[in-house]
Amino acid sequence: MQTQTVKIVVTGPFNSGKTELIRSVSEIDVVSTEKKITAEAEKVKESTTVAMDFGRITVDDDLVLFLFGTPGQKRFDFMWEILSEGMLGFIVMVDSTRPETFREARSILETFHAYAPTPYIVAANKQDCADAWDVEDMRVALRLDHSIKIMPCVAKKKSSVKNVLLELLFGILEEMDANRS
């Protein structure tokens, strides 16, 4: 029997927690192509994902879920299109403590939705930080319609990441049912 692999893409602005999210649930060590940061404006962390992160969750012998994290920096956006091909859905990570990245997050969301109109969810990351914006305030800031799910998230906590993934999968099921009727 042919093994079915399905793909969920994790996207979002630079330093929004994409790698962390994949690390929290992947059964393999996340394959990251990281590089030291050179651009002055992006020196929030020492290194960043250049090409992609790659995580895996095996369901059984004939079903595997891959998690692909996109590079956060705009100059690598040529990779987005490739990564979005055939995705089951996608997660847009947004750093709740950095409102200066909200506009970019919105732009990334629109770009990915244009690439493939698959279900998606917005994960409001770093909700454990004192500076974090309230999720409903973020909904307004990101101009998200009420039909779009936005979940509080702490990417380093497995339980939180599980909730985000589950909500996305529930959304995918709902869309399948809606398309049928």
Partner: protein, 271 residues
């Protein structure tokens, strides 16, 4: 939860919209350069606003809006010395100088004016403190944010339209190849002439903006005007490849596809 950031990243219109929709109560402080503006809200409506660099003098505000004569202001300043605005307002109403509605109308316009000052701020740190109330002794109003948001949004819309017309400032300009265009017959503004002097396929619009010291909004306006006049053309980068999404599922049957998603759900629950 914190609500803070910079107007550079989150415009005042977006901020007001958020406060309006979420019917927030509290104080919004915006600091830009040497100015600090404090706007207080109650249930998503403006209740009080003040620029820290401008003294709040109720009598002068009423005189500016022609509710009081200058001569009355001098007399009233002497008569009601050292009174807080709320007490002073009461004295003015009780003394028959003005109606309560006169005072409230004037203050609604004044507080809105303080907020409108923020529309031209491109940069400024803001933070919202809830549920902070305005300093005691002031006169509170209930001024809806809708009109202000519309006004701010109009300015934003102009900017967005210009962005649609000129999607990237990294593009270059070249003179259009229209043999009939007579450059000498065209009237250009000073800024437009300055930009025209830099038109060259090797110069990006950003570089021209730097050279002519025009901000992003102004360079877009000028380039748009030149485009409309048919003087220049934007040299656009080659369009990207056509996207052909790969297949999400091997299975074509919808029930099989649902089964796959359900198996994924079970697996993730078990992690």
């Amino acid at each position: 939860m914190a609500l803070k950031g910079n107007l550079r990243d989150f415009s005042i219109t977006q901020l007001l919209n958020l406060i309006h929709i979420a019917t927030k109560t509290g104080a919004l402080y915006v600091e830009g350069g040497s100015d600090t503006v404090a706007v207080y809200f109650r249930d998503g409506k403006i209740s009080f606003a003040q620029n820290a660099n401008q003294s709040f003098d109720l009598l002068k505000i009423l005189a500016s809006s022609k509710k009081l004569k200058r001569s009355q202001v001098v007399m009233l300043q002497e008569k009601f010395k050292d009174l807080q605005p709320a007490e002073l307002g009461l004295c003015l109403v009780n003394g028959g100088y003005l109606s309560q509605e006169d005072i409230l109308d004037t203050l609604r316009a004044y507080y809105s004016g303080v907020v409108k000052q923020l529309f031209i701020w491109e940069d400024g740190f803001f933070h919202f403190e809830g549920p902070e109330s305005a300093p005691e002794g002031n006169i509170m109003v209930r001024e809806s944010l809708e009109d202000l948001i519309v006004e701010g949004a109009r300015k934003l819309k102009e900017y967005e339209q210009l962005k649609d017309e000129i999607p990237s400032l990294e593009m270059a300009l070249k003179f259009s190849d229209r043999p009939g265009t007579n450059m000498r017959a065209i009237n250009l503004s000073q800024d437009e002439w300055r930009v025209v002097s830099y038109v060259n396929p090797k110069n990006s619009i950003t570089q021209i903006a730097h050279a002519t010291r025009l901000n992003e909004m102004d360079i877009r306006r000028v380039v748009y005007a030149l485009l409309q006049a048919g003087i220049v053309e934007i040299i656009r980068p080659a369009s990207g490849a056509v996207i052909t999404p790969g297949r999400t599922f091997v299975a074509q049957d919808r029930d099989e596809q649902k089964s796959i998603v359900n198996r994924l759900i079970d697996r993730i629950r078990a992690i």
